[in-house]
């Protein structure tokens, strides 16, 4: 094995090849990394062919455009739900687990763009719903926007381990969501349900203080249990489920610390379920350019976590180590 091959979430999409191809930084194609011969991580299309046919240029980029705020909802003291009217095409493109958009006040400069997981999509009406936890300058700048908001998208790398998610059918799955991690868990639970999987959801209000996803999953007939995942009792219950139930897949929506804890518990099991987690990298441009999401993996390679479907264990351990 010479150099690990990375999996780009955008490969083969209508936004591929992207700017990275123009500078020989493509994540997938060896020709577009400046090499002479094919040695790509095949994603179903030849990116080099697309690049040559489009006149040795990248394809169209995602545009920012103002959309109507159809409604807002104070989900808790520090969390606002937005229902936004977007195009039906964008709604359709966002109808995937891991999909997210950048949001900002149209009056603010581009660097106020903040990534937000898409919680619910109505492809018939062309609507999406997001939940925004007010934490820093960018999120707080969204408060009070009741008529228009600027959206950039679609982006898809909000969840790591998507190939496992998309590969599972008729299985037994556990969805664990805490705090604002509830929002991406909705699309995960719906997706798993559609694949005829049995889904149990453990939800912890966390710092949001409330469980706000019930109305989005009530039609799924999943078993939902509320727990404090930081309490001894909560941890005991999760351990018990992992030990006693043979899960095929476990999703963790929450902090890296939560991911790590769940991974460690899973590693103790004989039959290890697939792990799918929220991508908690600091995503700023979403295009692999700005470098804010850059993560160093064990081979020493720096990867752009906004585009790369990183190996879940490596991504999490690395960030915890770096931060610690």
């Amino acid at each position: 094995m010479i150099g690990r091959k990375l999996e780009c979430i955008d490969a083969g999409s209508e936004y591929c090849p992207c700017f990275l191809a123009e500078t020989n930084e493509c994540i997938t194609c060896s020709h577009l990394q400046g090499k002479e011969f094919c040695d790509c991580n095949w994603r179903g299309v030849c990116i080099y062919q697309e690049y040559v046919w489009s006149g040795h240029k990248s394809k169209g980029i995602r545009k920012s455009f103002p959309v109507a705020v159809i409604g807002t909802n104070n989900l808790s003291e520090n969390t606002i739900g937005f229902k936004l009217g977007v195009t039906k095409t964008l709604a359709r493109e966002l109808d995937n687990p891991g999909a997210y958009v950048f949001l900002r006040d149209d009056d603010k400069p581009g660097f106020f763009d903040v990534p937000m997981s898409v919680m619910a999509v109505d492809t018939i009406k062309g609507e999406i719903q997001v939940a925004v936890q007010l934490r820093g300058a960018k999120t707080k700048a969204l408060t009070g926007l009741e008529r228009k908001i600027t959206v950039r998208g679609p982006y898809w790398n909000g969840i790591l381990g998507q190939r496992y998610l998309k590969g599972i059918k008729d299985g037994n799955c556990l969805v664990i969501a805490r705090g604002i991690g509830q929002a991406p868990a909705v699309k995960v639970a719906r997706f798993l349900n559609r694949g005829n999987n049995r889904v149990k959801i453990i939800v912890d209000p966390g710092k949001i203080g409330v469980v706000f996803i019930n109305e989005f999953i009530k039609d799924l007939h999943c078993e939902i249990e509320e727990l404090d995942l930081n309490s001894k009792q909560g941890i005991k219950v999760v351990k018990k489920y992992l030990k006693n139930v043979s899960y095929d897949l476990v999703f963790s929506g929450g902090s890296d610390k939560q991911h790590l804890y769940i991974i460690q518990e899973i590693d103790r099991l004989e039959n290890k379920p697939y792990i799918v987690v929220t991508n908690n990298s600091e995503i700023c441009c979403g295009e692999g350019i700005c470098g804010s999401c850059s993560t160093r993996i064990d081979s020493g390679v720096r990867v752009k976590a906004c585009k790369v479907q990183l190996d879940v264990r490596k991504a999490i351990e690395r960030r915890i180590l770096n931060n610690g």
Partner: protein, 426 residues
């Protein structure tokens, strides 16, 4: 029990599977598409010129099974066409299921639509093959017969783009160079202008799209030669093709069609509009590659350095065969190199000395000669086949070319190698 894993189910991989199985190993073939034989599904020319000698040698060495199939599936035998004698043309629509049944009967495990993407190594040994579905296939000895053709990016950079050939990279994903992934640098063939790679040498027309007269002649005689209009004769096109045995003046001035089930057109590609100017081809359409009016697959972009027992240099337990093992052209050459790799894989697993075929057999000579020549600048631009060009000339000079079956039997027996590939080692 030795466990042999073969990556690539073309003619070389299938021959390796037969040889390893005959030697007593447990054999698994990994193939990325839904069919065995790869480019053998659109080839078909056997026993022309020195390939006759080579085929008979292989039969006497104990590798009769593949040749029994190609002989039984022949639509035409002992035919002549420009520069070539006593060719047989197998029916490309019949041969793949026959080979598949043979391997199954021999107990070879076949995994179709299984694409190898990487190598797991331990020291200088291959421990396992990483598959596209994230599983790992382990074995004692591995044989790489992934060929050297494509994929799309290479066909675009060094050719005229993907012409939609039988390898169907867009559907099944690209070939991976296993040896290169294991850290052994590939050797690259060149064409006359020192550009890398070369075009596949023939394309195939749908026979039903040809005139009744041409169809009847093809069915009856196996060959039809048609004049190219003077304004369309392009001798320079001969230099880009793989098959130097067909790079003759006659192939620029004429359209040579062979009946392999399809009408095999002995030129890498030919613009459809020009083709349709030729009498009897007014309604012609391509069968392989689908865009044969525009281009063809580009080959020789991934050759592993190896010794004359087919072991890849620098790796303990990886052998190679077919185009992966040199600038070879043709099924007979693939079967020859694949068979030796298959047989030697079992020897390697058992710690036995590896077999080299002697140079006074044409099969042994081509393996050694191609290996000498690939190390030279000029040699990188040549192709090695029993059927023509440099090596066939050499066969004739060395008085090795014969179609006398008894003489060939005597040569193999004199080396004490009769049926060696049929001996159980385990």
């Amino acid at each position: 029990m030795a466990s042999i894993v073969i990556i690539g189910g073309g003619w070389a991989g299938c021959a390796a599977a037969v040889a390893a199985s005959q030697a007593g190993a447990e054999v698994l073939v990994l193939e990325k598409t839904d069919m065995l034989l790869g480019l053998g599904n659109v080839g078909g020319i056997m026993r022309n010129n020195g390939r006759y000698t080579a085929a008979e040698e292989m039969i006497n060495l104990g590798m009769g099974k593949p040749f029994d199939i190609t002989d039984r599936a022949a639509r035409h035998t002992m035919i002549e066409f420009p520069g070539h004698s006593h060719a047989s043309l197998y029916d490309v629509t019949k041969v793949e299921p026959m080979v598949r049944r043979l391997l199954e009967e021999m107990g070879v495990k076949i995994r179709l639509m299984s694409r190898a993407i990487d190598v797991i190594k331990k020291g200088n040994a291959v421990k396992g093959i990483l598959m596209a579905d994230d599983t790992i296939v382990e074995g004692d000895v591995f044989i790489e017969t992934t060929g050297s053709t494509g994929p799309m990016g290479n066909c675009l950079k060094y050719g005229n783009g993907c012409a939609m050939c039988i390898l169907r990279c867009p559907s099944f994903g690209p070939r991976t160079s296993i040896s290169q992934r294991a850290g052994v640098e590939d050797i690259l063939g060149q064409r006359g202008d020192e550009c890398y790679g070369a075009f596949s040498g023939s394309c195939k027309l749908n026979k039903d799209s040809l005139s009744q007269e041409i169809r009847d002649r093809l069915n009856r005689e196996g060959v039809v030669v048609l004049k190219v209009p003077a304004e369309d004769v392009k001798p320079e096109k001969l230099s880009v093709k793989v098959c130097q045995q067909y790079a003759l003046k006659e192939y620029a001035e004429n359209i040579v069609l062979l009946d392999t089930g399809h009408a095999k057109l002995m030129t890498p590609f030919y613009p459809l509009e020009k083709l349709r100017k030729i009498c009897g081809l007014e309604n012609a359409r391509y069968e392989d590659p689908y865009s044969g009016g525009k281009g063809n697959s580009v080959r020789y972009l991934s050759i592993a350095p190896r010794n004359n027992s087919m072991k890849v240099e620098g790796l303990e337990n990886l052998l190679c065969g077919g185009e992966k093992a040199g600038l070879f052209v043709g099924h007979t050459e693939a079967i020859t190199t694949g068979s030796l790799a298959g047989h030697n894989s079992v020897r390697l697993a058992l710690g036995m000395p590896l077999l080299e075929l002697p140079r006074n057999l044409v099969t042994g000579d081509i393996i050694a000669y191609a290996n000498e020549r690939i190390k030279t600048k000029e040699g990188l631009k040549k192709r090695y086949t029993f059927a023509g060009a440099e090596f066939f000339e050499r066969m004739k000079e060395r008085k090795m070319y014969t179609i006398d079956k008894q003489e060939i039997e005597r040569r193999v027996s004199r080396m004490d190698l009769t049926d060696i590939f049929n001996e159980k080692l385990i």
